[in-house]
């Protein structure tokens, strides 16, 4: 299994990609790595941190779930209204990669639960992420980098 490093602000964590159940998504993701950009905290889903991806091609639905749990590494199209204040009205959503760092979180769309591609699981450092994300929420969000470990 491929291991990736997630660096958020002052902390690092590691995740295992689920290449068996999400072969297309993980293959695509490995081609995208390293990913680096502005980290954002969810305003609608609870304890989720994500970054917007600039990907030219459509990501297929694969290994989907609406029951996200702590440590899930997910890829999905987030409604644009929850991403940018001045989003162009012809853009419906943005491709994002994110993770869930605490319970009581559920990804939702405009009218209900939103299925996400489960591409991996954080196996190390989730506690550090769970401390860092609220700190950045108070003090300001910085960068996130996801790379091969």
């Amino acid at each position: 299994m491929t291991r990736v490093k997630i660096a958020l602000g002052r902390v690092e964590a590691f995740a295992q990609l689920d290449e068996q159940d999400a072969p297309k998504s993980t293959t695509w993701l490995k081609e995208m790595l390293p990913i680096h950009g502005q980290a954002m905290h969810s305003m609608e889903n609870g304890r989720e941190v994500y970054l917007v991806l600039d990907a030219p091609r459509q990501i297929e639905e694969e290994n989907q779930t609406i029951y996200q749990t702590v440590g899930d590494l997910i890829v999905y199209y987030k409604p644009a209204i929850f991403v940018r204040p001045e989003w162009p009205r012809h853009i419906r959503d943005f491709l994002v990669i994110g993770f869930i760092y605490e319970r009581d979180s559920a990804i939702r769309g405009m009218s209900g639960p939103l299925a996400t591609n489960l591409v991996g699981k954080i196996t190390e450092g989730i506690d550090a992420l769970a401390r860092e994300a609220p700190r950045m929420r108070r003090e300001g969000f910085g960068q996130m980098r996801i790379s091969l470990a």
Binding site: Q38, M40, H41, S42, M43, E44, N45, G46, R47, P79, I81, F82, P85, E102, R103, D104, M110, P134, M136, R137, R138, E139, G140, F141
Partner: protein, 166 residues
């Protein structure tokens, strides 16, 4: 003692909400006819300087925690969709939610909705809140400052009496 006028239908009160760090402010009308006790209680607390943080469950909404002693009964309860500019009071007793959302086991708070596609929610789903005011001017700039908190984090908010309209 409150300086509330006798005839609130003639002279409804207004409050100003402003961010001292950037000078952005907006004015809200108190909904005294529908939410008299909450309006009175909040009015008597003013002026107050609070820390606001962006909500993580509700959408386009920021919230400020009050002293937990500010416990008010539900009034003019809004359970579904607020409109941009709505300002509400909400209280959750100790251990109402699992864990301590926003670092608080118990919380009295004021929420401000700054854009559409928002619904007051917590870890257990939609929550009923007491709608007591609505921003009637300068919402646009105030909304941009609120959304900016997603990136910049929490900031101070000044809430003060803004007088009456005749």
């Amino acid at each position: 003692m409150s300086d509330r006028p006798r005839d609130t239908h003639v002279v409804p009160r207004k409050i100003r909400v402003s961010f001292p760090d950037n000078g952005v402010s907006a004015v809200a009308d108190l909904l005294e006819a529908d939410c008299p006790h909450t309006c009175e209680a909040i009015w008597d607390l003013l002026p107050m300087r609070v820390t606001v943080i962006h909500d993580i469950w509700s959408g386009h909404q920021v919230l400020a925690h009050l002293d937990n002693k500010v416990v008010l009964p539900p009034e003019n309860v809004l359970t579904y969709l607020p409109i941009p500019g709505d300002i509400f009071y909400y209280y959750r007793p100790p251990h109402y939610f699992r864990g301590s959302p926003y670092g608080r086991c118990e919380s009295a708070e004021i929420g401000i909705v700054y854009d559409r596609d928002t619904r007051p929610q917590g870890p257990r789903g939609p929550e009923a809140v007491s709608l007591f005011a609505n921003i009637s001017s300068d919402l646009e700039a105030f909304a941009r400052a609120c959304e900016d908190m997603i990136y910049r984090g929490q900031r101070d908010l000044l809430i003060e009496k803004a007088g009456y309209i005749g």
